[in-house]
Symmetry: C2
Subunit: 457 residues, 2 copies
Amino acid sequence: MRKLFFLVFCWPFLTQAQVNQDSIIIKKMSDEIMTNGKAYDLLRQLTKQIGGRLAGSPQQQNAAVWGKRNMESFAADKVYLQPCKTPNWQRGGKDFASVVSVNGKAMNQPLAALALGNSLGSNGLVEAELLAVADFDELEKRKAEVKGKIVYIHSVFDPTIIQTFIAYGKAGVFRATAASRAAKYGAIGVMIHSLSTAPDNAPHTGGMKYDENYPKIPAVALGPNDAKELYAKAKKGTIRVQMQTYGYFLPDADENNVVAEIKGATFPNEIITIGGHLDSWDVNEGAHDDGAGIVQTMEILRVMKAINYIPKRTIRFVLFANEENGGRGGAKYAELAKLNNEKHLFALESDEGGFTPRSIGITCSPEQFNKLQAWTPLLKPYGTEITAGGGGADVNPLKTIDANVILAGLVPDSQRYFDLHHAKTDVFENVNKRELLLGAVNMAAIVYLVDQYGVPK
Amino acid sequence: MRKLFFLVFCWPFLTQAQVNQDSIIIKKMSDEIMTNGKAYDLLRQLTKQIGGRLAGSPQQQNAAVWGKRNMESFAADKVYLQPCKTPNWQRGGKDFASVVSVNGKAMNQPLAALALGNSLGSNGLVEAELLAVADFDELEKRKAEVKGKIVYIHSVFDPTIIQTFIAYGKAGVFRATAASRAAKYGAIGVMIHSLSTAPDNAPHTGGMKYDENYPKIPAVALGPNDAKELYAKAKKGTIRVQMQTYGYFLPDADENNVVAEIKGATFPNEIITIGGHLDSWDVNEGAHDDGAGIVQTMEILRVMKAINYIPKRTIRFVLFANEENGGRGGAKYAELAKLNNEKHLFALESDEGGFTPRSIGITCSPEQFNKLQAWTPLLKPYGTEITAGGGGADVNPLKTIDANVILAGLVPDSQRYFDLHHAKTDVFENVNKRELLLGAVNMAAIVYLVDQYGVPK
């Protein structure tokens, strides 16, 4: 009773004995993960045996079956499916782009290109003069020149921004909206610089969205090297380009969130969620995005059982069905949470790649954040700390059903992620085993602490 | 005058204005490096055009010429050579190891193997029964069984140690001394598990040293997969193995440290050294070890000139001739520093790979360390902090000529380093451009701060 009093009224001022006990359990989980971790082998299965997992694809169906079977084998108290409709976008063919002529001189220079996700086919080959602009400001200034042209937008990352997710946020608006912004002024196609930090020529796909008020013109991302060369040429002369894409939608597909659960022994109605998303784009193996988050989630279930950890609260391990081109998995999970009147305390996502972990990013009130700093010494030995701001596209919808839910995200080092994000290079070979496992260690640690102490007021 | 007073007597309590000014200059250097950095292109040249650079090899000579030419092109005040004798170990042939029989049943299973650096040739094929032991404790217990056998030592990394350099230190003693420890009891050859964290089968070479009191038996490192399989088999039965190596020494070679200098405008006699080592093992491109440190060092020279930074103190950019199999480059630099009665304030090395930087590790007194923490807020935006303990094999000898020298080392994330350290996988393709440049940014920042404020008492 004394201990309970202490926990309830004095959180998070832990006694040294309690800190010692916590550090022992966290070390036990870490040792088990770093020594016997299955996440890397599971990732090999997911990427090499199943492969890319676009929502609606047979691979995505297979991945859910695989996830369910494995989480059952890890002896979760129960594993169940949450049926969930997902978009069913089809690339439809081999996207094509090329330079036809420069200053009237015929060329036939193919450009590395991928249609943006959700974009529609071009209905045959589209050819036009290129209008190359730096950004939307320049597009607006030159709107009178747009009609009948294919617009190129030089959506490069700002290399001086150290946190690449911030640079991605700034450049990402071009991928999302360039097609309709250009179509508004009469463009017949749009090309962007891939949202990439890599010194290579791999094009990066990723979600876009049409504004229903304008024609739905084809949209591609060019490989970085080709894009830079095209932009440099366009500043000096008149360029004609061609493009062809094949995108279309089938009726929404029937997919499933896969949910495993360990029932809480003390507060079974208080739920902690850990998850990642099963789907990926079609052009790669979705190894970092988000195979890593999937297998780390499964690893934490495995390690809790392996060390016979009995949680106080109910812990959910969720493989979300769809994030990339619709966010339907997270929406469904939150919808059912509301329907079932569930009490969610804390939801942690891993969807920034399987790179070496730098922090646990947490979205909560400043008062809660200050209190949570008490846990940083327990995370430091594993390379992380608690930083402000975090969550993930799959867990964020929980906040809309209960503003008190604390959202969290594993924050891996961000330098390499956008080299391969949504490109063909996001494959198993580019995931490092120790980095992947160490991410799981830090996720397990924060989940353990929330399970032990709940969350601060 | 007021400012000087402030700096001399109140170090390191910086005014907010000074912190702002420092952060502006550091940001300027960072922006220049992340946007126009040449380190990655230089590394491509060093690894792809020159290649592996074992001390005494033509490649090592070429690398020194290349380094001198490039640092001259970056407009150092002067660039000069420090002649330096280096060991001239030759691998001499294609190292070989195999399993001949298991429990009397003939096999012919080749083992991935590399002779350890400095080890001598076997004078033909050596065949014997294998004695496999976990460590030196077991070797000592079983010393009566050693005579006439080939000893295998299961020198695996402890995967539970998060900082891999600590695990390397523990396992490294086997690479360094196993041959003589086994020869002492009559072994005729020694095999170790490669000092590797990689889930692959690439053997890792690296320096060893014979004890002159015992026969100099051949020594190889086995690929991790082969080593684990061999160890498992040896626990269950009698194994005969073969090995053949070809190592020998030529007379010491004539190499050079390459030193570039920017003369200090205010305190020209106070020297700050930045460096890495030019040499590598012969089996790879020495991209992380230590091409990264070399090109980061050159990058800092370049950026200081690019932003027209005029240092107060003299800054030396040193490409050390030899670290891997002798440490002769650093010894020569310290010897000449003593001979010339130089005053060295601070010496920073990058020799832990071109991975994302986590801290600047500094070896100094606890009082100095506490004062240096004042700089951490200036480093945090670039991903690092100041941590205790640091230096590098090339700069450490300076401490022997002056105990007041502060040693420092760039501390990159350590999870991936021992996957490829001294193995054929240490190639350019495994270096990430942004990670490499970000290391240079943090090195430039700490050097700038030491240049501005000197070091605390």
